[in-house]
Subunit: 258 residues, 2 copies
DNA sequence: CCATCTTTGTGCACGCGTTCACAAAGGCAT
DNA sequence: ATGCCTTTGTGAACGCGTGCACAAAGATGG
């Protein structure tokens, strides 16, 4: 499998760690900014600072791509921009469909970062017939019935799901069946997909909850340690009273009354 | 610091690994769904499947919170919902401000997942005077001048930045100066903050780029390995021609012409 | 042409996170 | 009351990612 250097288990090109791949867009953004300012070269230290990582990590990341730097000088900005773009597959055109043109879907359609970097919004799709034909971000919304045809005609392999949670899995299945192999999911659901399909998840609510955890931790640091060993609610009894509570708060966390 | 069991270096409550914290909201969501269906108990296997993780990981995660399960039975759904909610700090009310009411900010204001789980949108703030007073998601947008007062009056400690990249750092500094200690950043920039302030970043463009990488990898698997050792562009020469290219494509990746 | 100085590329060690596999614990049936 | 059966909780091993620290590489000045 490996072509030349066999001192590493995986082939160079295929062996880029996930963590590194996730940082490449960061580097690319910092480099693009430098490129716009016509900065010819940059050191690992400067670039790392601009990207918000430390320089050792950056150098190691770049080492997975190859030896693109010049010792004593640094990295050629334009050259590195090209190399990273190529590695990420941004030198080609990626048609993308956005399914679910609610508030979020519309925001995504208008989002500049989508259109740049090789991504092209091929279509906006919504299940609501009232949306059909309505222009959003300069593109007419099409009905969900057209989904399969749109994907097939445009050779779409990346789909963005911005529907309510209830429809996400169904939309996902239709996308996959139509040929989509990468999905960016904004719906708060776990998507089940066959092997070979990549799903990335962006969950606004989860990020906030993580922040709340740390915020609480900060607040609790000054205060004395509250009694956390004594559960303020009934411990799991052997026989649990089946709570028949149909009208529970829906998505609101069910905080048990003390 | 530790009360009883001292066989672990960190205190139990404080020693929850980051990776575990990041999964707690997932578990909480799955548990909430079960709670709504009045399911009394759930096994680690079932819950793990619903949350999209494996059961060993889930059990280990829960073990950091305490021994909340019953062997041979599983976990009490309601009890666990409460415990996780408490651990995440969701049993208290978190007022949140959203700064930058463009397409994305409006989408966030309307996002149901925000309002639920203890988060309350205390204010929407925008720098555009034309936006002031305009209702979004039922809340009147306020001008950026009011930022400090709003934060102070409402005791806001969590801020969401949905401004353009250019204003993000400045907004961030004002938020921090006014007392905000947790920031959720949607602007495509690296934010610099003082110690003690948490920043989480959601970057739509980065997620798409990561997908593109894997997509390219999939596509390249069938095709024979392209010559990747021969750089198709000029390698970094000793003396780099300073490219004076003022009108470079802005945010579009600068693909060097061959 | 040589010495010096800067900066890269990377071997190595460490720590965190994941996964396995199993003993302990408790319910349940008889 | 006793034994069986299910499921938790966790010790231990493994692998990945991170950061240190330094040798190699190359530019630059004399």
């Amino acid at each position: 499998m490996a072509t030349g250097r066999t001192h590493r288990p995986a082939t160079r090109s295929r062996g880029i760690p996930e963590a590194t791949v996730a940082r490449l867009p960061l580097y690319l953004r910092a480099l693009t900014a430098l490129s716009e300012r016509s900065v010819p070269t940059v050191s690992s230290e400067e670039l790392a600072s601009a990207a918000g990582v430390n320089s050792a990590k950056l150098r190691k990341d770049f080492s997975y791509l190859g030896s693109y730097g010049t010792r004593g000088v640094g990295y050629d900005v334009e050259y590195l921009v090209y190399q990273i773009s190529r590695e990420l597959g941004l030198t080609q055109d990626w048609p993308v469909v956005i399914v679910g043109i609610g508030n979020l879907g519309a925001a995504l359609a208008n989002y500049g970062g989508f259109a740049s970097r090789g991504f092209r919004v091929a279509a906006l799709i919504d299940a609501d017939p009232a949306m059909s034909g309505k222009p959003v971000a300069g593109i007419a919304v099409q009905h969900a019935d057209e989904l399969e045809k749109i994907i097939s005609d445009n050779g779409v392999s990346i789909g963005v799901i911005a529907t309510p949670a209830g429809s996400a899995q169904q939309v996902c299945e239709r996308l996959v069946a139509a040929g989509v192999t990468s999905i960016l999911n904004f719906a708060p659901t776990v998507l089940t997909v066959p092997d070979g399909v990549d799903v990335r998840k962006v969950d606004l609510s989860i990020e906030l909850q993580i922040l709340a955890f740390h915020e609480q931790r900060k607040a609790g640091e000054e205060a004395p340690p509250e009694e956390e060993t004594a559960p303020p609610v009934a411990p799991p009894a052997a026989t649990v009273k089946k709570r028949t509570d149909p009208g529970s708060d829906g998505d609101v966390p069910a905080v048990m009354p003390a």
